[in-house]
Symmetry: C2
């Protein structure tokens, strides 16, 4: 026994990192394996994690403890220099802003593991960690000033319209010119990524990590690696990153546009991650769309048990209602076009439209993701490289967040309101959104035996007009007859 | 032989009406049958039509001749007073504005039988012929001042929100209070309707006659007649109205909301009409929608051979592309919500939205129908009762019509332009519509070996800005970055 003050302390859901020295010769990335078995000393609960080679003879094993108290560990390895290492650490209470990883809660909502509320308000900066340090810092500052608490980002670099700058580092060792070494990773790439993951964590932002994507087309070849290389990559990524509590696994962006992968590949990757990730981080897969033809939409079967939530690209939010019912899982429409002015159809909707898509998605019980694509003289476009936000929707998204926060936490779509998306808790609170429709009035069927305060909310000007008096029973609300209005009724206290 | 100047003359596609006197006793509507066989004397072509009882001992047979020259006819009937009647008439050239009935042309377009162009620009006034004479006259005046050349209208009266006034006459004899006589029709109802059909004809407007609809719910019972009564009604309607060249048969409005009818009923009615109508007028059927759930859309199988064109209710126009390809028939989205301010979701879109739906539908090679639903102190709402138009979309629809007229007549969707709806004739003319998207620029891939004039069209302000100079090859067009723009390129002459 050692006394408590001698032990290394790690807060609950923090990262305990064990570092060992070992051989540098050969290819340690594939030739050396190590496993660390962590045991909670009071409950005898055990978690086994795989270590990874971090270059320069350093071997590491990371562990995210989910219970306070003392944990012990022992290392097993075929390499005698690593085998048998052992120790203890003390898991302390989480700090104020640490609520643990995000989990699916009540079938179709999310929540932090500590039970506190989490409502994803996401944005997209696919390749922000592949840009200059200065630009990455600017992106972090923009995120800090924003309402966003989730970001979609790619591990592999991106080559696409407006994305032609080569990154400095890649997940694999090597370069495009000299070729990549498909069994050796680049620890420096991961060190820099991990720094950003921690910085996101400090901002309260979940990192929805996109593991594969089609924006390569053989330029580097990360979109056409063979199955063994794919799995080696996934294993290395999981061993390094799963201990960060704010990690989500997005198997792919526009998976259906990756012509070198099959449905069987995606099933295999999902199951592999499910098996290898000791913490059960959220797992999803994001579809492409042919914007000109909804009949060509190719969807992964989100009912499969390894999919934790639905990640959808679609330009209309009305199907959220059907998807919630079909899949019985949280529905995140994390791409619904981008606010901007690109020539491409997916990248030139107005701020009004983006804000309206957020309101409709949330009013249907789903979650919506933001993105921005304004032409920029140096192609610094938020959707891909980060930088600064230029659009008009972000303050409206923050306003929506405030309105949702003011509802009861149990707010859910109210089936009785069939023709207009409405969330709330029957008899307690109602929030109804009209979108680009403009009724001259609406009748709200409030309970007869209670009194409600009614607000007319202009979701674009962000003004709230509270009606005089209190309302009960079927209540006619006269509306100003313009688009983008919502009505809220709350039990008078 | 009689000399030409002694013969009655009827213009081609006019109505020749044979009138005979017969018995008044019993129930002549069902007890007396007559058939008239018309023969074109130079080609020996024959057409047999069924007559009908018009009340007060009058029996009539109507015939729409489709060939100029002399026609002879003979009557056959089990009733000796009618049997054996015979005669001749002379079919003359059609008058200037008479182009014959509308037909499907080139698989997915429409055209008049004389070969001249017909592009449906429709509106909806379901129950306009069930209103006061004064209101009907006002509706006709509004139509005369409008761009519309098709109107959707119901034969049965309508009972619905904002539609509670009882009509003066019904297709059947009797009344709601005293009951209807399900084997006796009301000739006076039909005389008045036929007057309106002729007036529409004079305005160049096709009458898309809705034969059944659900807006009754047993109030009168026209939505729940038995099969025999349905067929008796259809037969009487065909015998009276098929000779009017501007008649289309719309089997039902929101057929799927008629809970007393089955798919088999609709198949039966379609086949019955196909068999009984000697002129093959256009036949379609219109679906309802659950506006809150696209997955609940119930569509009739428009590939069935008796369906001449697709009549669709849907609030989005992007599926037009898929429907054209699925059905291989003209696609008319004759209900895409209504411009107005009703509390109901289907009845409160903005003028901008209605105009945008028209532009998108036409730019995808489909046809779109208009409707208007503004609250009115006496519930005189265009969509149902007619009256005056109050919205902002109608001048924009007329402007769209002008722009389409200025394209080559062979304009069709151009498959090469996949991300933005574009119609035209490759190498000759292009019309591309951006809707509520707002690209800062677009590149038009024009042929290298020809010169084009390019216009930027503001579909809302109805302004056309012609760019300086001529363009060839890939041509970058800078756009003002606001919604509702179109770009047109035409071969410079």
């Amino acid at each position: 026994m050692v006394s408590e003050n001698q032990l290394q302390t790690i807060e609950r859901w923090g990262v305990f990192e064990l570092s060992l020295s070992g051989p540098e010769d050969g290819n340690p990335f594939v030739e050396v394996q190590l496993q660390a078995r962590f045991q909670h000393t009071t409950t005898t609960r055990t978690v086994t994690v795989e270590g990874f080679y971090d270059g320069n003879g350093a071997y590491k094993a990371r562990f995210m403890p989910d219970a306070e108290g003392e944990w012990s560990f022992t290392v097993k390895s075929g390499c005698s220099e690593l085998d048998g290492a052992a120790g203890h650490f003390l898991c302390t209470a989480p700090s104020a802003d640490n609520h643990g990883p995000v989990r699916v809660k009540d079938a179709d909502h999310f929540g932090y593991e500590d039970g506190s509320k989490y409502r994803p308000i996401g944005t997209t900066c696919y390749a922000w960690t592949h840009q200059s340090d200065m630009l990455q810092e600017q992106t972090l500052q923009s995120l800090a000033d924003s309402p966003f608490n989730k970001i979609r980002m790619c591990l592999f670099p991106k080559r696409y319209s407006f994305n032609t700058n080569e990154p400095e580092r890649f997940p694999f060792e090597g370069s495009r010119e000299e070729g990549f070494q498909w069994t050796r990773f680049n620890p420096e790439y991961f060190h820099r990524l991990e720094k950003r993951l921690v910085e996101l964590q400090q901002l309260g932002i979940e990192a929805d990590l996109i593991l594969f994507h089609p924006y390569d087309k053989g330029h580097w070849g990360f979109d056409r690696m063979d199955r063994d290389t794919d799995l080696l990559y996934l294993r290395y990524v999981i061993n390094r990153l799963a201990a960060f509590r704010n990690v989500w696994w997005s198997l792919a962006n526009e998976f259906d546009f990756m012509s070198n992968k099959t449905m069987d590949d995606w099933d295999c990757f999902f199951q592999f991650i499910q098996e290898k990730d000791p913490y059960g981080h959220l797992r999803s897969i994001h579809n492409g769309t042919k914007m000109y033809d909804p009949s060509q939409l190719v969807l992964y079967d989100h009912t499969k048990p390894w999919v934790t939530h639905v990640s959808m690209q679609y330009w209309e939010l009305s199907p959220v209602t059907a998807w919630r019912s079909r899949y019985g899982k949280p529905v995140v429409v994390d791409e619904c076009c981008y606010e901007g002015n690109l020539p491409q159809r997916w990248g030139n909707i107005t701020g009004e439209d983006m804000a309206a898509r957020f309101w409709e998605g949330f009013a249907r019980g789903g979650y919506v993701g933001h993105g921005e694509t304004f032409l920029h003289p140096e192609d610094v476009i938020w959707w891909s490289k980060g930088g600064r936000l230029h659009g008009e929707s972000v303050p409206r998204i923050a306003f929506l967040q405030r309105i949702l926060d003011e509802l009861s936490v149990e707010a859910a779509p109210l089936e009785a309101f069939r023709d207009v998306p409405t969330i709330g808790v029957a008899g307690v609170c109602y929030l109804q959104y009209y979108g680009n429709h403009r009724p001259a009035y609406r009748e709200l069927p409030l309970p007869e035996d209670a009194s409600f305060q009614i607000d007319i909310i202009d979701t674009w000007s962000m003004e709230i007009q509270t009606l005089e008096g209190l309302y009960s029973g079927i209540s006619r609300v006269e509306l100003p007859g313009r688009p983008y209005l919502a009505v809220r009724a709350r039990l008078a206290t």
